[in-house]
Amino acid sequence: MRDVAVIGVGLTKFGELWDKSFRQLTAEAGSKAIIDAGIEGKDIDALYVGTMSAGRFVGQEHVGALVADTSGFSFEHIPAIRVESACASGGVAVRQGYLSIASGMNDIVVVGGIEKMNDVGGTAATGTLVTAADQEWEAFFGATFPGIYAMLATRHMHEHGTTKEQLAQVAVKNHANGALNPHAQFRREIPIETVMKATMVAYPLGLLDCSPVSDGAASIILCAADKAKEYTDNPIKIIGSGQASDSLALHARRDICTLDSTVHAAKMAYKQANITAKDIDLAEVHDCFTIAEICAIEDLGFVKKGEGGKAIDNKITTLDGSLPVNTSGGLKAKGHPVGATGVAQIVEIVQQLKGNADKRQVPDAKIGLAHNIGGSGASCTIHIMEAM
């Protein structure tokens, strides 16, 4: 297997982008990444794009070819592949691009992630998101996507004494980080009382425990590591890549409070990188709901199972903590255009490892981790990166 590096990144603003179409967003993120990497169209061997449900959100399938076309590569005839794994579509697209270079098949690939969610109303968006869960055995009976994570939260509170206030702290922290990120959907801090008193969505999760409905796109350029310095002085190497699956339904899991897909993908990525959780300097984790960040930091091994709720009080995951988590604002504040998320997480880690994260820069960041979840944990990808 060959080593692979990230040589360019691009991101659109995340948010309710009424004046931008699916096509415009994907072209914007892609061209920013291509210019950042200093490559040209003829250098690109393949294009991978992650999107959860372009079919339901904008009525368009076959978006691999569409993205290549929109980005101006229709005359280059490059292979274009659409990847779907619900909210982990972006992370899986990154891994597919990574594997295609590691295998020796490709030298340079573009990986994009996109979702345009605001072209449908809120009810339709909710109905589409729950397709990430088990349609026949969860959604049919009235479970919603926030409801499934809410059940995870209720059980976590019961078993480990996690409090609603600890959940709220995650939203407060991620909003504080998002306030420092010019691409974030929500660029303002929120007081904990506001989170605690927010309209209930699915007990115990209120509106501000949930990531928003967002539009946005992200893109990265991957390159064989031995060729990366031809294009950039500071490539960021992918030193570990892991992926795992689990039952589609939450109720069929070994343990309701543990996302085994995270545990297994982490084991795979740590082993490849030859490191442990202790070596990670910062992480972007999949906080689609506040409880999801608490479970993620436990399942990644940053804290012990059951201790995730205390990570903010203990100054572990805060921006000035020992292992800052979601410096971008996370899905909660940066926004969660589902297909874009897994790619955007890599963009944040790359910016941090290059020292380009401005006010949210983690000092001396050497090794960063990106953790992307599909559904309530049926899919997970983990990528670990280090400056070369």
């Binding site: 009810t123 909710t126 109905g127 729950v130 088990d134 349609q135 026949e136 055995w137 969860e138 959604a139 049919f140 009976f141 009235g142 479970a143 919603t144 926030p146 409801g147 499934i148 809410a150 059940m151 995870l152 939260a153 209720t154 059980r155 019961h158 309209t199 209930m200 969505v201 699915a202 007990y203 115990p204 999760l205 339904a249 939450l250 109720h251 069929a252 309701i256």
Partner: protein, 137 residues
């Protein structure tokens, strides 16, 4: 949720109306919903998955109260959804009914009850299946 097609619903009637699961005769584990093969025994279970009716009795493992729902459930808001561990082992997701919402708690014993689950608007199909209620002492 299924514009046009009702076959995908009547196909599931044995499971949703009568709690018919299946049992792997290789390891004796019971599954609900029924599985094509046993994930523990895999090829050893081929041809050995036998129909098995579940009691519909169990206890609440975790729950939520839904306040924002898809259109088909809007008239039921707020409603409780739980994961119930059945006596025979499998866990299922379903609504908890006939009980004040604030009385629902983890560990509560429940039994299944046959109910209307959702409907496709005023003139569309009505879908039935199981919900759970507190077990009578």
């Amino acid at each position: 949720m299924a514009d046009g097609g009702v076959a995908r619903f009547w196909r599931e009637i044995p499971q949703r109306y009568n709690f018919i699961g299946n049992k792997c005769e290789s390891c004796e584990r019971i599954f609900f919903p029924p599985r094509e093969s046993c994930p523990y025994c895999r090829r050893k279970s081929m041809g050995k998955m036998k129909e098995s009716k579940l009691s519909g009795k169990g206890e609440i493992i975790t729950y939520t109260i839904i306040h924002v729902s898809p259109e088909n459930f809007e008239e039921q808001i707020p409603y409780a959804v739980a994961i119930v561990k059945l006596e025979e082992g499998p866990q299922v997701t379903a609504q908890i009914v006939d009980c004040p919402i604030d009385e629902i708690k983890i560990g509560m014993k429940v039994e299944s009850t046959f109910r209307r689950i959702q409907e496709d608007g005023y003139t569309g199909a009505i879908y039935y299946g199981y919900k759970f209620k507190k077990t009578e002492k």
